[in-house]
């Protein structure tokens, strides 16, 4: 729910911005505790870890015993602890999502059978799930039964990924020969003592690593972040992602990790950060697919330019819009700040929306309704005031009545397309007053 909608429901609500770096600081002790039982814990995000347990199960004497041990060790932290156990990470993640507060452990005996019963929504793509449902396919088992070629032909790379997951194949690693050591490291002399400076370096390193891997046509799903302090102590953490890391997502993870080491339970990075190393350990060929006429260099260049423009104009002023349902032009656009995840549309794009203003769309739409002067004679528009002069109306279309949500206090309004010799305008008449909604420029 958007904060605006939440405030509409509850005006006294307090909005707290999510700070994932701070959450990672709180989560780091949990990860360390798990690591005392089982090494090589992989963090997906603050709050979620993957634990490879094949060796540990034998050592502790069974899956349930191991899970009980983990839960016991995490007792001092309080809160809700849930464990999903499966042969693959996708099934394990879905298993943990099916746990409840009262049943916090879900052990999957047969990954294939478990995945087959999952709803298509578990693929994590609303568009894909919607398309599958429209085709009458509601479970991953049904997706797995589809011919692979047909899925690729219809849904492209996203469909291929979904098909793999539905068949219980998490990903294809190392698709072709890649030089052995792809790790990237930076040494700092003198050591970096400022967190912001370290975060900046992290961004640069992430950019170099992903850029280097992209040239081989691969992308990392797991990255080991290693920081060496000036006193020689070394700290390391593995991060995992279901989708391959991009420059942005990897830089973010490195920043969270650095902050958790600096502000967390460990004694910080004593003497400053001397070396920062990023090592990709799980590569797949599912890197970003460029469009036919797009080139990787141009893409990077554009990202750099947009970041610069964001710094000049402000974050809120670099925007991308996406279509959504609605009756009026303003309603049919959903704005997102550039670089942020696209918002899910507030209104269904495919719904019929009776009373929608027909195409073509006005090229200029004021952010708020602007008073617009029209003289009416017997309900017929006669003249329009444009700046200081009155211009005769040549023709018009409408009224198209819009009945708002009367239970929310929205009134009735009539929309008109007004044509003059100077251009065409979309306007709304509400409670006897006329407002400009758009200009057909």
């Amino acid at each position: 729910m958007l904060s605006r909608s939440a405030e509409a429901v509850c005006p006294t609500i307090t909005t707290i911005t999510q700070d994932l770096a701070a959450e990672m600081v709180r989560f780091e002790p949990v990860v360390r505790t798990i690591e005392t039982l089982i090494p090589r814990v992989e963090v997906q995000e603050p709050g979620t870890v993957y634990i490879p347990i094949s060796g540990a199960v034998e050592y502790y004497g069974g899956e349930e015993v191991l899970c009980e041990r983990i839960v016991k060790e995490l007792d001092p932290f309080g809160g809700d602890r849930r464990i999903g156990l499966a042969a693959g990470p996708f099934a394990a993640y879905q298993a943990v999502r099916q746990t409840t507060r009262f049943q916090p452990l879900h052990i999957v005996a047969d990954d294939a059978a478990f995945i087959a019963d999952l709803d298509v929504a578990s693929l994590g793509s609303d568009d894909l799930a919607e398309a599958f449902r429209w085709l009458g396919i509601t479970t991953l088992g049904a997706v797995a039964e589809l011919p692979r070629d047909a899925v690729i032909s219809r849904f492209g790379r996203a469909g291929l990924e979904a098909h793999r997951r539905a068949r219980g194949i998490d990903r294809v690693t190392t698709p072709r020969e890649i030089p052995g050591d792809l790790a990237i490291a930076s040494h700092f002399d003198p050591p970096i003592e400022d967190f912001e400076q370290a975060a900046f370096v992290a961004r640069n390193l992430a950019q170099r690593l992903v850029g280097n891997l992209t040239s081989y046509g691969v992308a990392p799903h797991r990255v080991i972040i290693t920081a060496t302090a000036a006193d020689g102590t070394e700290q390391s953490r593995t991060w995992r992602s279901a989708d391959p890391f991009s420059e942005h997502t990897l830089a973010e993870r490195v920043r969270w990790q650095l902050r958790s080491w600096i502000d967390g339970v460990s004694a910080g990075i004593r003497g400053g950060l001397e070396t920062l190393r990023l090592e990709p350990v799980d590569l797949s060929g599912s890197g970003r697919q460029m469009a036919l006429e797009e080139d990787a260099k141009g893409f990077e260049e554009t990202q750099r330019v947009f970041m610069e423009v964001q710094a000049i104009a402000g974050q809120d002023n670099l925007l991308v819009a996406n279509p959504q349902g609605g009756r009026d032009p303003k309603e049919r656009m959903s704005w997102t700040r550039w670089g942020e995840e696209e918002r899910s549309p507030e209104r269904d794009t495919h719904a019929p929306w009776p009373g929608q203003i027909p195409s073509p769309a006005p090229a200029l739409v004021p952010p708020e309704l602007v008073p617009f002067e029209i003289t009416w004679v017997g309900g017929i528009p006669e003249q329009v005031r444009l700046r200081s002069r009155w211009v005769p109306v040549l023709s018009w279309a409408g009224p198209w009545r819009r009945v708002g949500r009367w239970w929310d206090g929205e009134g009735v309004s009539d929309r008109y397309q007004i044509v003059t010799s100077a251009g065409a305008y979309l306007c709304e008449v509400r409670e006897g007053r006329t407002y400009l909604m758009g200009v057909y420029d």
Binding site: L319, P323, P362, P366
Partner: protein, 224 residues
């Protein structure tokens, strides 16, 4: 519904040997600058976007929105994918020039509304930069016209004729905009052209309706 449309590819410098090539006037080659002048409602936003639309196949286009009124729906109707249309809102004269200069360095095309009160010198510099970086640039002054020599193609709206509405019936369908074209694109001559826009397709110059209003070879022009 937003239609995904076909665009002619980006061609080299437009030629205007006769009116059969009039459509090429509405093509902007890399590094060329178009200046649009006319009051809001004359259809110039769609014309400007159509000049840049072929470049959206290669990367994002940026619309610098000075008034804060830009609606991407018009761009989507021109066949520009939503994720390829980025809007920068800036009405600050000081930062406007920096933003345009930065964008010219890394995007495929820029449509910029020009704020009132901007010094001519800034526009000349940006035009030179656009030529150097080979980035097509469309400039639309919020009021007035561009100083002479900035744009390769100047388009000034003279008249707009809408079809589809009649005393309360129907809805807007087709628009014919009468434009005066000038600049190096028309070899220094002033020409009158008419552009048809059906709202969901590329713009099209109406054949044999344009007329050269001035020029040395007036007598050899086909009847408009």
């Amino acid at each position: 519904m937003i239609a995904t449309l076909q665009h002619s590819g980006v061609s080299s410098t437009p030629r205007w040997n006769d009116f059969g090539h009039a459509n090429e006037l509405l093509t902007l080659a890399p590094g060329q600058i178009a200046g649009l002048s006319g009051i809001p409602g004359s259809g110039l936003t769609r014309i400007g976007l159509s000049l840049l639309a072929p470049y959206a196949l290669r990367g994002p286009l940026v619309y610098i929105d000075v008034r804060g009124w830009a609606s991407p729906m018009a761009a989507w109707e021109m066949g520009i994918e939503p994720e390829r249309f980025v809007v920068v809102r800036s009405n600050d004269i000081v930062s406007w020039g920096r933003i345009v200069a930065t964008l010219l360095d890394g995007v495929r095309g820029v449509y910029a509304e020009v704020p009132t009160g901007l010094r001519d010198q800034v526009l000349y510099r940006l035009a030179a930069l656009a030529r150097t970086k080979r980035t097509p640039l469309v400039l639309r002054p919020v009021s007035g016209k561009l100083p002479s020599g900035v744009a390769y193609l100047n388009l000034e709206a003279r008249e707009v004729l809408w079809e589809g509405t009649e005393a309360g019936h129907g809805s807007l369908t087709n628009r014919r905009t009468c434009l005066v074209a000038s600049g190096r694109a028309t070899r220094g001559m002033v020409r009158t052209i008419e552009v048809e826009d059906d709202g969901t397709n590329d713009l099209r110059v109406v054949p044999h309706l344009g007329a050269r209003t001035t020029g040395p070879d007036m007598g050899r022009i086909r009847a408009g």
